[in-house]
């Protein structure tokens, strides 16, 4: 999703989820969020809070920056 200050937040949640053999519903239950949130996160339509981003990173045993990548918009 495009941030107001310019730039993009991408994520590799779908790849990590598939690597674990989980479906969206299972991941949603594990993270305590709705399935719709997982769908929106994976499609890049919604940026998670820092709290949820940490939760996701901890769940996959990764660092936040391994999952979420911020790309500055080129001027």
């Amino acid at each position: 999703m495009r941030e107001k200050g310019g730039g993009w937040l991408k994520n590799c949640m779908e790849e990590f989820r598939k690597d674990r053999g989980l479906n969206q519903e299972e991941l949603a239950v594990a993270l305590g969020v709705s399935r719709q949130t997982i769908i929106s996160l994976e499609k890049g339509r919604y940026n998670p809070s820092l709290q949820l981003a940490f939760k996701i990173a901890n769940y996959f045993g990764k660092q936040i920056e391994d999952i979420f990548i911020y790309e500055e918009e080129e001027q």
């Binding site: 969020v33 709705s34 949130t37 929106s40 809070s49």
Partner: protein
Amino acid sequence: MMCKGNDKGFFTVFGILGSIGIVFGFMMKYNLPESAHDAMMASGFLTGIGTALTGIFLIRKVQEKFFPKKVEKDTIEMNDERNLSIKRTASSIAWLTSIIWLAVAAFVLLLMEQRMGAYLAVGGVYVSGIAFIIAMKVLEKKM
């Protein structure tokens, strides 16, 4: 965080407010003279709202007892950060719409020479504006 947290307490408040509404509604109805039509209507309104709130509370209690899985899912949906964010944005839009509606209503009422109604509508605009400023100041200090 706003809207987030103990939804059991939230529904209990519904139950308490609903019961109070029903009791006051009936008390008003049986203590008012037959000629007080508007107050009678208000008592019916109060009883209706009270019944609706109590109904929601009772349905929730039944769900908690017989469908705990559904309640758990509902709680996740209710506390889900994306849903909360959507609700907040929708609330802001609804608030702005109400303000515009009240301002238009005040203008129309004034044209219809309904001063009391117009004052109430303008009062609504001011009250929500003041509530907005107070909430903003409180939140600024908290964050």
